[in-house]
Amino acid sequence: MKLRKLVLTALGTAVVLSSLAAAPAALAQVKEQFFPVLVYRTGAYAANGSQWANGYVDYLKLVNAKGGINGVKISFEECETAYATDRGVECYERLKGKNGGATVFQPLSTGVTFALTEKAPVDKIPLITAGYGRSESQNGAVFTWNFPLLGTYWVGADVAIQHIAKKEGGVAKLKGKKIALVYHDSPYGKEPIPVLQELGKTYGFDVQLLPVAHPGVEQKATWLQIRQQKPDYVLLWGWGVMNSTALREAQSTGYPRDKMIGIWWAGAEPDVKDVAEGAKGYSALTLQHGAEPNSRVVKDMLEQVYAKGQGTGPKAEVGQVLYMRGLLSAMLGVEGVRKAQERFGKGKVMTGEQVRWGLENLNLDQKTLDSMGFAGVMRPVQTSCLDHMGSAWVRVHTWNGSKWEFSSDWYQADEKNLRPMVMLASSKYAEEKKLKPRTPEECKK
């Protein structure tokens, strides 16, 4: 009994002492810019999610290694979502007020983005959804806190059709063609459908929709339908195991891989490396960057983070496609803070509202990007209060059996096609939610 009392007293003392020791650290953290990191390192999409998370976290470490954002160090905390919307929302709630308040959220899930779109304006925290999320959220007049930077799924769908048209010899040749969309049966997978249907009407091609249930391990029936209907092209809108399964099924049903084009979430190493030769000729869109092992930012990462033993993931994956996606996403958030500091005070910790201003006034020209080590990786991004996307450049890369290689020049999404759709969809959203869109005058405030 005495011993038990002794152990309990010792434990209690240890807890009190450790909390006292942690208190100054917690106070110190208030001076840091806090980045919550929603990740999925477990579950059905772990192989892809981990690489993105490693790139994201490593970039934050690299910024700290270089002295922070104008001297302001970054603190971060990961929260595991397992790509589940409920867990994503739970992570958001848990982290939004932590360490002085969240700078920005990047949920890496269209489902979670849909769920957070109504929460972010209340909490005044921007949502960056680089290459995913709601496509109509490009309209910053309505979606004041969403930033689908670099591109949306509507951009992807438009460019995919441009690429097919180029292969066929012009948009006139699209008439009468059959294009199948094999998609993840989720908000993510359904995003490109309106654009494809609209372009189908304009150019005269037929769109066949083939949903695949989560997680996408069973696609036999889908590919038998493809074998029967013989589409001219297959667009793959998958994630995780769904992509490699689709390529395996294409191989086993004899569908030519060079007639398959994936979205940028279906064009990374985990999607193809085990299919290897079976995926040869398969192409995917890129969100500007591809695998960039020779870029300067990757070299900096290896020298300043990995050489010191502070890297988050395996060194061999640094510079791979999804690693770069995570890295770029973190960079965009950091640059939003840097831009905000230009207005609200250099060397200060920025609030979510101030960071939103930074993200709305982002102007990363080529010179700046090159100086940051992104030469050849991406093109300039310039946002505004009304355009929260900032850029719509896409390239195509093709798997050669052992690595991804760029196989096209730059494409730019056709604003003539997309802008009216963005405006229509966002106005409808504003009407449903009884929101008053911001005017250009309000943007200047």
């Binding site: 772990a46 038998l224 395996r248």
Partner: protein, 309 residues
């Protein structure tokens, strides 16, 4: 007609693989009355072990032959599944003799979480490859009878063949061996089996071992098809409607149930899917199982439950 036959054959071959997964459920339920929710995690764990051992062991021993590497990795993964079975008996089941079915079910849920966590901690969460030389390209048959011929997936065909052989061996084991009969006796009544000298603990280790080997074979086949990754754990969920349909206590039920589910989901996706938006094959299997639960709760071949009141 050719397309219908292709879908039918594809469904039958997929169904054979579902049977293999369902067999894991049936084996453990038959022998211990436990509905083993950890079967999917066992498939994942075994496949991860096989995939990683096939890389690690040749590196340690300096082996060049892929056949030898795969054989040693398979044996090592089998041994690991034996250790898992022994630990499950020692740490979990031994303490739950004569407990309610729901308690045992919850225990297997716990085992599933432990196996998934430990598996990905030891072996990693990346996508790993199992290359046992399964043919990947399709073959065309009856080109004279049907336009474009009938497409047969060689990989699925070989996988279905392996599954069929394993199922036949297990059926023989249960029906014709002393251990098999002892397993069935334990399933009927733990206490009665113990009273006539059947060592309950040893029997449980044996049955979890056998289920482990079934999980390993299923993991190797599915892993070779899909790559080894976390989604393999969800593949086992495809076995649930199969056992509901076929009956939890029947090996032939698992086979027939697997085939019905395989064919049903493929035909429904192809012919009903386009009318109602597609992507229906997974829930169609559960709908079918639900209908069976309403009209024949014991499944096609399960033992009829008669309660005295």
């Amino acid at each position: 007609m050719g397309f219908f036959l292709e879908t039918l054959i594809g469904g039958l071959m997929a169904g054979m693989l579902y049977s293999l997964v369902a067999l894991g459920f049936v084996l453990i339920f038959k022998a211990s009355g436990v509905f083993n929710f950890a079967q999917g995690a066992m498939v994942l764990f075994a496949a991860l072990a096989m995939a990683r051992f096939a890389v690690w062991i040749p590196a340690w021993l300096g082996l060049d032959s892929p056949f030898l590497a795969n054989t040693i990795a398979f044996l090592a993964a089998g041994a690991l599944m034996f250790v898992v079975a022994w630990l499950v008996e020692r740490l979990v089941l031994r303490h739950l003799v004569n407990q309610e079915g729901a308690t045992l079910l919850m225990a297997t849920l716990g085992i599933a979480y432990v196996l998934e966590g430990v598996g990905t901690s030891i072996f990693g969460s990346d996508v790993y490859k199992i290359d046992i030389g399964m043919p990947k390209d399709p073959v065309m048959i009856l080109e004279g009878s049907f336009e474009g011929g009938l497409l047969i997936n060689k990989e699925d065909f070989v996988a279905a063949l392996i599954a069929a052989v394993l199922v036949a061996l297990l059926a023989l084991f249960f029906q014709k061996t002393v251990t098999g009969r002892a397993l069935r006796a334990v399933a009927d009544d733990h206490q009665a089996a113990q009273s006539i000298g059947i060592p309950l603990n040893r029997i449980w280790v044996i049955v979890w071992c056998v289920a482990g080997v079934v999980a390993l074979v299923a993991g190797v086949i599915w892993g070779s098809k899909l790559g080894v990754q976390f989604s393999l754990a969800t593949v086992a969920l495809r076995g649930l409607p199969v056992v509901i349909l076929g009956g939890l206590t029947s090996i032939p039920g698992a086979i027939i149930g697997g085939l019905i589910i395989g064919v049903g989901e493929k035909l429904s996706e192809v012919y009903l899917g386009p009318m109602i938006g597609g992507g229906i094959e997974i829930w169609f299997a559960y709908q079918l199982a639900l209908v069976f639960l309403l009209f024949r709760p014991q499944g096609l071949f399960g033992e009829k439950i008669i309660d005295r009141v």
